[in-house]
Symmetry: C2
Subunit: 347 residues, 2 copies
C-alpha cells in the first residue's frame, strides 16, 4: 500500500509500504478515507525535530474498518471511524480520568512499529479504546465527515486549551495564535459560552475566519503593542488565556496579559530556550495548564455538536489533496498558503 | 531609629535611619517586636539579586501599633499586629479575590519609600488592609507570637503551595525542598488532611523536623535517584507536588514526578536558565500554579489554628537574635547553620 513517508527535511514522498495486518487481538485495520496534515508535522518537515527517515507520517486518521482482531467489540468491518493522535486503551487510570494521552497501554502514531495516518491503510492498536465510531446515519455524509475530521486533533486541541484555561459561560477569553488550533480554540471558547473572544494573530485572512468562528475582537499587532492592545481590551489583563502556538514570544505574551490569578491553557509544545515568560507567570499567580490534548476524551461531546449542526470546524481546511498530493500539501502548509490541508483519499 | 541595611553582598549592617512617621491617612507606624530573616533575603545577600545599597531590609513584621493615620479604623495604638510581605488595600478586585500580592494599591516592603521590617520601627501603608490584629487575649503570649510570626511569610507560602497543588483530605503530597517554606508546606499539607506527605530534601536534620511536622516519608537522595524513589513511593507519580525551592533541578524533579493530570504548586521564584522542566511538564498535562503567596488571604484561617493550638510552625526558628545580632543571623542562614532566624527586638 502507499503511504506518505519522511525522507528528510522538506522531503515527504509517497512510497510503497507493507500492507498493515492485524497483529494483536485488540487491533483493527482501517482503510483511510480522510486524513490531514498538521501544523505539528511541520516541525519535522522543517528539520526542527528529529524524525526517523523512511518512517510513515500523519496522525489524524478517519476511515472504514476493514478487519478487526478477536478482542475488538466496539467496531466491526464497514464502520466509519476516526481516531485522535493518541492510541489509548480506554480502561486504565488515565483513560478513565480523561487523559488518554497518558495511557500506558497506548502511544502515538509515529511510535515504533505503528504506521502513519497519511496512508491508504492503518493498523489501529487498542481499537476498542482508540477508535470513535461515526453513527451510521452520518457515516457517508461528506459534509459531516469533513466537520468531524478536525476532532482527530486540532478541534480537540483547541477545546483542551479552553478547558485548561477554565473558560466558562460569560467569560472573556484571549486566544493567542491564528493557526488551525487557535481558530478551533476560538470555536471551543464560544461553544463553552464565552461572552467575548479576542483572537490574536498575524494573518488578516485567518483573523477573518476567527471572526466567522465567533471572535468578538481581533488583535494583529506584535510584541509590546499587542500586549498593550490586549490589556486595554481586557481592562488590565485576561482571566482566560489560550496559548495555541508554543513559541517563546507567544508564551511571553500569554504570561504577560494573564490577569493576576487567571488561567492560561497551553497546547503548543513549548519550543523555548529563554524562559523569560516564567517571571510574569510567577508574579501574576496565573495557573499554567496544558499538554497534548486527550482528544479521545472530548470526541463524543464534540461529535454530538457536529451532528446537531452547532459545530463546524471544517472551514480550517483551505486546501484538499489526494494521497499523491500530500507532498504538495506539506509545501502549501509550509509556505502558509493553506491554514490546514485535508487529504481526501476517496476523491 | 536603627534598621538592618544592605551595604553589598554579605554585608548587612545596623545603621541609623530616620524614624518613620505617618505620611498618608491610611498609614500606621508600628514598633517592631519580632521579625525574621528569610531564605529569599539570601538572594541579595549572596549577590544573586540586585538590591539598592543603603536600603533597609526585611519583610516579616510583627509589632505594636504606635500611631495611626486618620483613615485607619482596623487597628489602634497598642494593638499587637503582624503583616505579610505584601502591602495590600483589602478592597480592590485582587484583595477581594484573595490575591493580595497583586493589589494595585499595595506593593512590597523593599519598594521605594517603604522601609524594611528588620528595624525598630516601620511605617505600614494601607494599614486597614495590610495589618492583621492578634486578639488581645494572645497579644502578649510569647509562644503564640512565635507561632504566629511565620504567618508573615513562610507558613502562608507553604500553605499557598498546598492550595496551588490542590491538596485535599486523603491526598498524597510530595513536598520538594526542606527549607523553612518546604517544612511549612509539610505542615500545610497535613493541615489540609493529606494522608501521606513525602518530604524531599538534602538535610537530615531538616527532614527530621519534616517528620515532626507530619511527613510520613522522606527522600534525601538527589537527581535521578530521588525521582525513582519518589515514583516508587507514589506508584508512578504524585498527583500533588509542592515545589518549594525555585531552582532548575527542583522544578525538573517536580515536573518529572508529577502524575499525568496532577497539580504542581510552586512558590519559589523560578531561577531558571535552561527550561528543561517544560518538556515533562507539558507531556504530563500537569497544572503548574503558583507565585508570591497572598499570605494576607490566609492569615485569619491559619491564625485560628495557631490560637487553637493545632498549628505551630515555630520550630523552624532554630536561632534567635536581637536587632544588633541581625548580621550574625544572615551569616547563620547563609551557612545553613540555622533553618530560619527569628529577630526578637524585645529580648
Amino acid at each position: 500500500m502507499k503511504a506518505a513517508t519522511y525522507r528528510g527535511p522538506s522531503d515527504v514522498r509517497i512510497e510503497e509500504h507493507p500492507t498493515p495486518e492485524i497483529e494483536e487481538p485488540t487491533d483493527a485495520v482501517i482503510r483511510v478515507t480522510h486524513t490531514a496534515i498538521c501544523g505539528s508535522d511541520l516541525w519535522f518537515y522543517r528539520g526542527q525535530e528529529d524524525y526517523e527517515e523512511g518512517a510513515p507520517v500523519g496522525h489524524e486518521p478517519m476511515g472504514i474498518v476493514e478487519e478487526v482482531g478477536k478482542d475488538v467489540r466496539y467496531v466491526e468491518p464497514g464502520d466509519r471511524v476516526f481516531a485522535g493522535f493518541a492510541i489509548s486503551c480506554g480502561e486504565c487510570e488515565f483513560c478513565r480520568k480523561g487523559l488518554h494521552t497518558a495511557c500506558p497501554n497506548g502511544g502515538f502514531w509515529d511510535g515504533p512499529g505503528v504506521g502513519g495516518a497519511q496512508a491508504e491503510k492503518l493498523r489501529v492498536p487498542q481499537a476498542n479504546g482508540t477508535l470513535v465510531r461515526v453513527p451510521d446515519r452520518y457515516a457517508d455524509d461528506e459534509d459531516t465527515l469533513e466537520a468531524l475530521l478536525p476532532l482527530t486533533d486540532v478541534m480537540g486541541t483547541g477545546h483542551h486549551a479552553a478547558v485548561c484555561a477554565d473558560v466558562e459561560a460569560g467569560d472573556t477569553a484571549v486566544v493567542i495564535g491564528d493557526g488551525a488550533v487557535g481558530l478551533c480554540a476560538v470555536l471551543a471558547s464560544k461553544r463553552l459560552g464565552a461572552e467575548r473572544v479576542i483572537a490574536v494573530g498575524h494573518h488578516e485572512d485567518r483573523l477573518e475566519l476567527a471572526k466567522e468562528f465567533g471572535a468578538t475582537e481581533t488583535v494583529s499587532s506584535r510584541g509590546e503593542e499587542a500586549i498593550e492592545e490586549i490589556e486595554e481590551l481586557t481592562y488590565g489583563g485576561a482571566n482566560h488565556v489560550l496559548e495555541c502556538v508554543g513559541a517563546e514570544s507567544s508564551l511571553e505574551t500569554a504570561a504577560t496579559v494573564a490577569r493576576p490569578g487567571g488561567s492560561i491553557g497551553y497546547v503548543g509544545v513549548p519550543h523555548v530556550e529563554d524562559p523569560a515568560f516564567l517571571e510574569p507567570l510567577f508574579f501574576s499567580n496565573a495557573s499554567f495548564t496544558g499538554g497534548p490534548a486527550p482528544t479521545r476524551a472530548y470526541a463524543e461531546e464534540l461529535m454530538e455538536d457536529v451532528l446537531q449542526g452547532t459545530l463546524d470546524p471544517s472551514p480550517i481546511f483551505t486546501k484538499t489533496v489526494d494521497l499523491d498530493g500530500i507532498p504538495e500539501g506539506y509545501e502549501a502548509m509550509d509556505e502558509r498558503e493553506a491554514i490546514k490541508v485535508m487529504v481526501n483519499l476517496d476523491e
